[in-house]
């Protein structure tokens, strides 16, 4: 649009300028015409002067001069005619009559001069006619001069008008052009500069994190599709970034929480281990105290008595030494077991066992354990036909440990040992249930009951020998055998521990 306007404006200005130049040319022609008219008039005046002299008795020489001037004036006239155009139409008829008059005047002049040279003056009427003609001619040239002067003036005026128009037009075109430039600058500002500035500002905010919300707001509505697209895409981009950031923050928070939990667990495990070491030290020192103490006592007694008359007493002391030594051995065995299991260095020796017989073999030891605190042992043995493939040593260790615990935490009560069967999708399982009517376990204690080094609270504090590793060892051994161990208990109303194992060798016909 701007270009179109510029082209039209420049076209108009050039057009006016050409007119102006054209008129300048015209003016030059006017001046030339005037000059020719004046020159012509001059020649005619000279011709008339010469003619007067001829009339007053001049010779042929003067007549020739007259003729010469007339010739020159004719030449001027013919040159003047070449400038003739629409504006000289007024002049033309005059020239026509002039030409006739000049021709006539020349004839008269010739006649008169010829007469003179022959000594015969021209007739009176011809002389008068000649004078009238010449005067008339002078007037005509005067008229023509005036007319040309007037035309020249008109032309000058018109030229002034044209130049004025040229300047006005140039001014108008310049102002119009300026207005258009300003308008397009304004338009560019509102359609380009404002959106770009807003986008740049929002981008800076987006870079300075947290300063831009999830939805950047723009106040412009650009008519340019590309800029509108850029705006909506930028908004989407920021939204996406914000979402990603949120997601990342959530992940970091989650991970931090997990790490913090893991750290808590690690710290707790470390604390438990430290406590375990303290307790280990305590539990080992107690039997050692008896072993060392009784050994020394024996030595003292023997030294005092000098003979073996006090045999029974000494036998009791030595019995204590033996039992304390054994207790110390159990402790050490437990510690070794758990460390072996935890480092994965335990080998299994599975055998085919008839369950009933296997359990019967355990019973003597179970009875001894039960009798320590006057507990009644109730045993429900399974069908003879049930057989199982398992490492008997490990299974025995697990069951004796659990029976031992049941007897330890029950006094004047019952300990029930039974085996039940449970069909599972892939194979039959056997459950060894060991129930007691003892002190039970609190919910708080039951949570970590199978964890190694976990110490029970004072409500179930071990007062007898034990490292607190028995159940941890039992659970790990049960798992090694392909099964598991579980517990149900209520504080004050006894506990039931269940060792579950898959029956690898199915029913055998006896």
């Amino acid at each position: 649009m701007l270009c179109l306007f510029g082209l039209i404006g420049i076209g108009l200005v050039v057009w006016r300028l050409l007119f102006g130049i054209n008129f300048q040319e015209k003016t030059l022609k006017d001046q030339e015409a005037l000059r020719l008219t004046q020159e012509c008039g001059g020649y005619v005046s000279n011709a008339l002067l010469c003619a007067d002299l001829v009339l007053s008795g001049g010779n042929t020489y003067l007549a020739n001069a007259t003729y010469g001037y007339v010739e020159k004036s004719l030449e001027c006239l013919s040159r003047l005619r070449t400038y003739s155009n629409a504006q000289y139409k007024l002049v033309d008829p005059i020239f026509e009559s002039d030409l006739k008059l000049i021709t006539r005047t020349i004839q008269l002049s010739t006649t008169v001069s010829t007469g003179n040279s022959q000594g015969v003056p021209a007739p009176k009427d011809q002389q008068e006619l000649y004078l009238v003609a010449t005067e008339r001619l002078v007037d005509m040239f005067g008229d023509t001069e005036e007319k040309i002067e007037l035309i020249s003036q008109d032309n000058r005026k018109e030229q002034e008008v044209i130049w004025k128009q040229f300047f006005i037009l140039t001014g108008v075109v310049t102002i119009g052009f300026g207005v258009i430039v300003f308008a397009s600058w304004r338009m560019q500002t509102s359609t380009l500069a404002v959106p770009i500035k807003q986008l740049a500002d929002k981008t800076r905010l987006a870079i300075d994190e947290d300063e831009l919300g999830p939805k950047p707001e723009f106040t412009f509505q650009s008519p340019i599709t590309e800029i509108d697209d850029l705006r909506s895409h930028f908004s989407l981009f920021v939204e996406r970034i914000y979402e990603n950031k949120q997601e990342l923050e959530e992940t970091v928070e989650k991970r931090t929480f997990e790490l913090s939990n893991a750290l808590d667990i690690a710290i707790k495990a470390n604390d438990t281990k430290t406590t375990f070491l303290a307790n280990m030290s305590h539990e080992l020192r107690t039997p050692l105290n008896a072993i060392i103490g009784y050994s020394e006592l024996c030595l003292e007694e023997l030294e005092d008595i000098g003979d073996f008359s006090n045999v029974e007493e000494i036998a009791t002391y030595i019995g204590h030494v033996r039992q304390s030594g054994l207790n110390l051995l159990y402790q050490i065995n437990d510690v070794l077991d758990i460390s072996k299991i935890e480092s994965g260095n335990i080998d299994l020796a599975p055998q085919n066992l008839v369950l009933k017989q296997f359990l019967e073999d355990i019973l003597p030891e179970a009875h001894i354990l039960a009798e320590r605190k006057q507990n009644r042992l109730i045993v429900n043995l399974p069908d003879e036909a049930i057989s199982i493939r398992v490492d008997p040593g490990k299974l025995r260790q697990v069951l004796i440990n659990i029976i031992g615990n049941a007897c330890k935490f029950t006094e004047n009560g019952e300990v029930i040992i039974e085996a039940s069967f449970e069909p599972k999708p892939r194979q039959q399982w056997v459950n060894f249930n060991i129930s007691d009517s003892g002190i039970g376990i609190s919910d708080e204690d039951i949570e970590g009951i199978f964890s190694p080094y976990e110490q029970r609270s004072s409500s179930r504090k071990l007062r007898e020998e034990g490292t607190g590793l028995g159940l941890a060892i039992s659970q790990r051994l049960s798992r090694l055998l392909g099964g598991n161990i579980s517990v149900k208990s209520k504080l004050g109303s006894g506990s039931t521990f269940t060792v579950s194992l898959p029956i690898v060798v199915d029913h055998l016909t006896s």
Binding site: N289, A290, G293, E300, Y317, Q323, S324
Partner: protein, 118 residues
């Protein structure tokens, strides 16, 4: 010299009682802190040998109670315990024990500690 031995493990109680008797001390035994405190109120013991890990009230708490009571606070208490860490020693002394020895007992060392309170 009349000693009170507070200890819950009967095997260890018997061993220490016998060894102290052999050295000429009169020894009374209590198998819990509660029983021990009761005995102290009845009998003017010269020294109390206090186990720390006891069922019910532990040795530390028993010592605190004895030391808080003007009737019993003057009786020296020697902690005799299998809890052998430095922290256990600190805790025992903080509860008011006058001395501390660990199990297994080195009898000569214990006698020396007892004799300081004669």
């Amino acid at each position: 010299m009349h000693l009170l031995l507070v200890e819950d493990n009967p095997v260890n109680t018997e061993m220490l009682r016998k060894r102290l008797l052999r050295r000429g001390y009169t020894v009374t035994c209590a198998n819990s802190a509660e029983d021990g405190i009761e005995l102290v109120l009845e009998t003017p013991f010269n020294v109390i040998l206090m186990d720390i890990g006891l069922p019910g009230i532990d040795g530390l708490e028993a010592t605190r109670r004895l030391k808080a009571n003007s009737q019993t606070s003057a009786i020296p208490v020697i902690a005799v315990t299998a809890h052998a860490l430095e922290a256990d020693r600190t805790a025992a002394l903080a509860s008011g024990c006058d001395d501390f020895t660990t199990k297994p007992i080195i009898i000569e060392s214990l006698i020396e500690k007892i004799e300081r309170f004669r």
